[in-house]
């Protein structure tokens, strides 16, 4: 269990982390989300006592990190992939960590095996790919068989097989009753792993909720309709008391009505439908909605060109009356 109490970090006059209070519980994977520059890494460094907070405290099972007698057996952490000396072999890197905590030598081989680096154990980590470096970092985190694990952006640089592997690893670790705390800026990644979410933006806590609640609260479902006789369809819908919104590319979007009912309605009025599809706004969008105000580094998107919707990116932006307009207003 990790408890953050009013954790604050100030660099000059910039608040990197602003009064963060939350608890990370054992037995589940807790996702730590935020856009780039939100203060995730700074928070994790303060949890490990690498950086000292301007105000507030972090308690690891009721103790400060510096008071831990056997840190690697309590907390295993992956900070950056390459927080290691490139000239040292994977085996020696883990060996010196094991020795510093009085962990038996045999553990080094075990964790190398766990992460699949046994065949390159004697190689210097300088020549490792980002993914291999990440695996070595994870091996270091697992070395003391700790009851708390912290991973900062663990899927960075991993190939699909590696991403799949680390997802299962984190779920397994949590199911053994360990506390697993994972940071990421990828909502879609978290949706597959985390049960609980802590979302921050510009150092402030935005959400501390279960994944299920987060999805329910933040994602919007709607039905997309396409018909040759759009005007008639709109009339029919209006007649039934249903508001529909026309999108730029001629679709209709309907909130809060089931697809089945819309289909039946169209059939009753003998309307041809070319499309009738229930849509769910992705968690990625929900996350962007939540953090829109607090994104530090905005890319300026190009204005839409003509009526033709830009492929890909444009499709994610909902039309005027939807929730999208709402958050865009807030964001500006």
């Amino acid at each position: 269990m990790i408890e953050l109490q009013g954790l604050t970090k100030r660099y000059g006059d910039k608040l990197a982390v602003d009064g963060l209070t939350c608890t990370v519980r054992p037995g589940i994977v807790t996702g730590f989300l935020g856009p780039n520059g939100a203060g995730k890494s700074t928070t994790m460094r303060m949890m490990l006592d690498l950086d000292s907070p301007t105000a507030g405290t972090v308690l690891i099972d009721g103790q400060h990190y510096r008071q831990l007698k056997d840190p690697l057996r309590t907390v295993g952490a992956l900070l950056d992939a390459k927080a290691m000396h490139g000239g040292r072999s994977a085996h020696n890197h883990l060996l010196c960590l094991a020795q510093s905590n009085g962990i038996p030598r045999s553990r080094v081989r075990e964790v190398l095996d766990t992460v699949g680096l046994t065949s390159v154990a004697g190689k210097r980590s300088k020549g490792f790919s980002l993914g291999m470096g990440q695996r070595l970092g994870i091996a270091g985190a697992l070395l003391g068989d700790p009851r708390i694990l912290m991973f900062d952006e663990p899927v960075n640089g991993l190939d699909p097989e590696g991403i799949h592997w680390i997802r299962n690893l984190m779920k397994n670790l949590a199911s053994q009753g360990r506390t697993v705390f994972v940071s990421s800026h990828l909502m879609s990644e978290m949706a597959l792993t985390a049960e609980h979410l802590i979302v921050i933006g510009q150092g402030r806590l935005l959400a501390d909720t279960s994944m299920a609640d987060f999805i329910a609260q933040n994602s919007r479902s709607y039905v997309r309709l396409r018909a040759p006789e759009t005007e008639r369809l709109l009339d029919v819908l209006a007649g039934a008391g249903i508001t529909a919104v026309t999108t730029e590319d001629g679709h209709l979007e309907v909130d809060g009505t089931e697809a089945a009912r819309l289909g039946e309605l169209a059939a009753r009025h003998q309307l041809v439908l070319h499309e009738l599809s229930p849509q769910q706004a992705s968690l990625e969008e929900a996350f962007m909605q939540l953090t829109a105000e607090s994104v530090e580094y905005h890319a300026h998107s190009a204005p839409p060109v003509g009526a033709g919707a830009p492929p890909g990116g444009g499709a994610a932006v909902p039309p005027g009356g939807g929730w999208g307009a709402d958050w865009r207003k807030k964001g500006s």
């Binding site: 006592d49 690498l50 099972d61 056997d70 510093s100």
Partner: protein, 306 residues
């Protein structure tokens, strides 16, 4: 772009390590009474408190497992023994008299050159951790920063002392073997002690100052440059200080410059007017300087974010 690559060793089962049954009985951990929280997982690995000796063992592994250490130390041995041998052979070949000294004095120059390697290595011992990010891993594994720096200092001091000791003893034997009949005085036991133990302690302490400088500046090139300046600059500045009014400053810079201090052990500091230091004085001066530098390094390490 990326296709799933076949791994050399497929980690099919992510949990290869032997695991305790989940939710094993809590309360097994000595020394960690969870305040309010429950301990969800207990590791089967035997637990024991980490000590300073564990940190020393880890630092020893670190220092021996990097090629740059081995290279730098090899170069140092090569310089001290190699150049020492050349000088001895040269003086022997020339057949000139070594007036006012003993045979051991011929070893001074090569030790002074070899000393540069200690500066580099002392700085690199810690600054390379900052450069690579390893320091964060180190401090996560051992959050007691005093212990980390103490372990580094112990290991580095021991390594430098032993290597310098072996080299100086070797050069001393070569010098006495080749040059004893050319020297005016025979070398006494006390002189042997100063040239071997004294020099080795002096250089190991200089290594500690370099380690402290690496901790303070965290930047390899910068800290090495500063250490080279500390060693060489006073002598160079003193050489160009012609003004009469600065003569006392000039004398102090000259006397307390590190090469001149080292020369005291060899009795080659020239006429008595050149330096007022004698006997084991340089060692005490260096010990105080190392203590001050290390104190500053501790303070900096404790205060600053890693």
């Amino acid at each position: 772009m990326t296709t799933p690559q076949p791994q050399a060793a497929q980690p099919a089962t992510p949990q290869a390590a032997p695991q305790a049954p989940p939710h094993a009985a809590p309360g097994y951990w000595p020394g960690t009474a969870p305040a309010g929280g429950t301990v969800g997982y207990v590791s089967p690995i035997p637990v024991r408190k980490a000590t300073l000796m564990d940190a020393v063992a880890a630092e020893w592994t670190k220092i021996r497992s990097v090629r740059s250490t081995i290279w730098t130390l090899s170069i140092m041995v090569g310089i001290i023994v190699g150049i020492g041998l050349l000088i001895a052979a040269g003086v022997n070949g020339a057949g000139s008299d070594m007036r006012g000294t003993n045979a051991l004095a011929a070893g001074f120059f090569s030790v002074m050159l070899g000393m540069i390697c200690v500066l580099t290595l002392g700085v690199l011992t810690i600054s390379s951790e900052y450069g690579t990010g390893m320091i964060r891993t180190t401090l996560t594994a051992c959050p007691d920063r005093i212990r980390v720096l103490t372990a580094k200092a112990i290991v580095f001091f021991a390594v430098t002392f032993v290597i310098t000791m072996v080299c100086t003893a070797l050069v001393g034997m070569i010098d006495t073997g080749l040059l004893d009949d050319q020297a005016e005085f025979a070398s006494t036991g006390g002189e042997w002690l100063k040239v071997t133990v004294g020099t080795s302690l002096f250089i190991a302490l200089l290594g500690i100052i370099s380690l402290a400088m690496g901790t303070l500046l965290r930047h390899s090139a910068g800290a090495i440059t500063v250490m080279l300046g500390v060693v060489l600059l006073p002598l160079v500045v003193a050489m160009f200080m012609f003004t009469e009014s600065l003569s006392s400053l000039r004398k102090a810079l000259f006397e307390y410059s590190i090469p001149m201090q080292l020369s005291v052990f060899y009795g080659v500091s020239g006429d008595d007017s050149a330096t007022s230091l004698s006997g084991w004085d340089p060692l005490w001066i260096m010990a105080i300087a190392a203590a001050v530098a290390l104190g500053g390094a501790y303070a900096s390490l404790l205060k600053r974010d890693a």
